[in-house]
Subunit: 457 residues, 2 copies
């Protein structure tokens, strides 16, 4: 009988807790949709600062802005964490054309890949060999590649529901294309943009030369999907066409930059840190509204929302704007290094770095016990059409923080449009929908609230 | 023992069926994402035909185009179903301004509501009274309203996850505002656009005078949300400001138009009809890409997809392009009337009329037994991030077809951006994302496939 009463009591208190949570989550929702600052803050970051590649003046301005916004939001403490970052500068707009016969040319849309070397100032001009994979390079061998420009033209796969998966399966062309092609004597590489749409925007992004000596490095550029289709078509007609590429990008010495960190001390468990963040740097073309301005403003807006509903966190909430996610991850590494030194205990870390689109769920890195706990929270999200709680991956900036006990998570917005804008000139504020952005803030604030209230198992 | 074997057999065959369904659904997905015609067809309808209000030349062209596209897709039979439709013509672009004092004016963005009468050719100019509801009209009474222009300014509510719900709670201002305001002597109404975003687009849409005599009718216009905010702000400063509205729209006699219908006879149960459709008419501003060009091309593309995967429907699949959903629903009524005369048996009808955005699920009108059957199909959709199977509502064009036995459904895409474009000049092809559109086609084709294969209970 006592056992029965106990069971009933537990069921009843679970019910009461659950009802209270529903109410608070509804408050978070109402506040996000009516009083969020996400959109307004992103307007400033995107339109008044703009693209902010690591080591640039704009990156410095973004650090200053982030610091001052976090101060205005009334955190207990806001500070900068020094970190050395690479500085790569694009230089004047790149130029490329296809010459099908002397005097007959077609301009194409290209941009240098991040980290690439320049061409000679007159450009490189040569024959083109189109390939879909590194295996194909090997099959073709030096005899077919030497002295040519290699054109990597494997499209992102359309028939995958997650465009991030399509990206993952195509992006080695961009990251490793140059160092693979150079083995066979290529003098340059052009890579089909990581974009599922046919349009005129070349998409930049990081590439690597691995251990290749500076003298051996060849220029690498992205070409828009429309231009890639055109080049491929023209190659079918005339395999001997010439391609001219001119770019004047340059790698400088590393420079000093910063992560921006702010925290509110937990009222009950100050030693338990809940981290939420995104990356403050972006590529230099476009203004980085989706990648990752959205994640930055959503992360700090959570504190604005908590204040408005008078929610006092029991655990320490830390907002981190990581520097240099795009081409080095130096901010993330520095943050981890210091956290390890200080033996900080991150019980939960959440990153938003997949665009400011309608949130569909989260993906988690955690143990089974924590995952089953999290799955019990799905019911709080489903009324807001957030259904997808999957395992596997969180975010590049936080992944180093993984332990056997803690939970890492990434916000997973609808991914269908993400690669229309990713690393391209059109990743601009007008590609942001206010409601979608705010719904992301809501999803994140709700998950932070639940972790703050219930902690880990 | 035999019972056990039977149970095992049923479980096993369910498993086998389920695996087969998964495979076919994967094929539908791959085909939709790689070989869909939805985007290309919508490009033509939007960019070569454009806005197609009932009774317009463009609506005739859309009927011709629809007929010929359906023929090209290889249906067994394609025909037109005559229907008389209203013909309302907007005339030259509307004009409105706020005059805060003689000579000090601010232009504002307005458009006539569909069905409205014109103003006199010089316009109407009067004081403005701002209200949020019909109750407020009543409270203010004739003494405060007589001779004035009533400004309905209740915004769509932001803190609802379904923007269609926000729309439902605000739209009576547009549909009934004029007939309510005229009771108190108003000489015109301007209505805040049904738009959750602050921008410069006025959103049209149908309005009604009810039983009001033609001589008593007052002009009704929509005002953009930005202009509504401006007007409201200026009214606070100067309640005596004047508003000038000029519009030259006109209602003509009804004209002949058509529904466009195509079908493939079922190989096993030809008498059981599965209907899929949308509405072919649109408003005259914008090109009706989301409303409802998307639904039109998705509906017919299903047959293209079925052919490509060599799926032979067991039941009769009927594609219907309804005419005049926007301002009369005459096509839907005519279709129902003929279907009733012919005693046609529609076991399932699906409408897509909520935009070409990422599909989130469906809403169903059906009995409990059918709903529990449908819920068993959720597992087929979830791998494609389609999670929401709710009851309540299908689509305006098909709702008359409801019986106690059949199932009606509406595709439910993500609704966050829908009212950014709805009935406005920016509902254009460039607001369509190809993948999102195709995912809608996939969701619809999959549901049609399941109903075709398994029928009703």
């Amino acid at each position: 009988m006592i056992r029965k009463i106990k069971v009933l009591f537990v069921l009843f208190s679970t019910f009461i807790f659950s009802q209270e949570d529903q109410k608070i989550i509804k408050k978070i929702f109402d506040t996000c949709m009516n009083e969020s600052k996400s959109y307004e803050m992103l307007d400033y970051l995107s339109n008044e600062i703009g693209g902010r590649l690591s080591g640039s003046l704009n990156a410095d301005r973004a650090v200053e802005w982030g610091f001052s916004e976090l101060q205005n939001l009334g955190f207990d403490d806001v500070w900068l964490q020094d970190v050395m970052v690479p500085k790569w500068v694009r230089g004047p707009k790149e130029f490329a054309l296809i010459e099908t016969e002397p005097g007959v040319t077609f301009n194409v849309d290209v941009c240098a890949l991040g980290g690439s070397v320049a061409t000679p100032s007159v450009g490189i001009k040569s024959n083109v060999i189109e390939v879909k994979s590194f295996e194909e390079l090997k099959t073709l061998g030096k005899e077919n590649i030497d002295g040519k420009i290699v054109f990597f033209n494997r499209p992102m796969q359309a028939n995958l529901i997650s465009t991030f998966q399509s990206y993952g399966e195509a992006v080695n062309q961009r990251t490793n294309g140059a160092m693979e092609a150079v083995k066979y004597g290529a003098i340059g590489v052009i890579v089909r943009s990581m974009n599922l749409r046919l349009d005129d925007f070349p998409h930049t992004g990081v590439m690597s030369y691995g251990t290749l000596l500076p003298s051996k490095r060849i220029p690498a550029a992205a070409i828009s999907t429309n231009s890639a289709e055109k080049l491929s078509d023209l190659l079918k007609i005339n395999p001997d066409l010439k391609f001219l590429l001119r770019q004047q990008c340059k790698q400088f010495d590393d420079v000093l930059s910063s992560n921006v960190i702010a925290e509110i001390k937990g009222s009950e468990y100050p030693e338990e840190i809940i981290l939420v963040g995104g990356h403050l740097d972006s590529w230099d073309i476009g203004d980085g509204s989706h990648d990752d301005g959205a994640g930055i403003v959503q992360s700090m807006d959570i504190i604005n929302i908590f204040r408005k509903i008078n929610y006092i966190p029991k655990r320490t909430i830390r907002v981190v704007f990581f520097m240099n996610e795009e081409n080095g991850l130096r901010g993330a590494k520095k943050y981890y290094e210091i956290a390890k030194q200080k033996k900080l205990k991150h019980i939960f870390a959440l990153e938003s770095d997949a665009g400011g689109f309608s949130p569909r769920g989260f993906s988690f890195t955690c143990n089974d016990l924590n995952f089953s706990k999290i799955q019990n929270w799905k019911k709080f999200f489903e009324p807001y059409l957030i259904h997808s709680f999957e395992r596997g991956g969180s975010g590049a900036d936080i992944s180093l923080l993984e332990t056997n006990e803690n939970v890492l998570a990434g916000l997973r917005p609808d991914s269908q449009r993400y690669f229309d804008y990713h690393h391209a000139e059109n990743d601009k504020f007008d590609a942001i929908n206010k409601r979608e952005l705010e719904l992301g803030t809501f999803a994140m604030a709700t998950l932070i609230y639940l972790f703050d209230k219930y902690g880990l198992n």
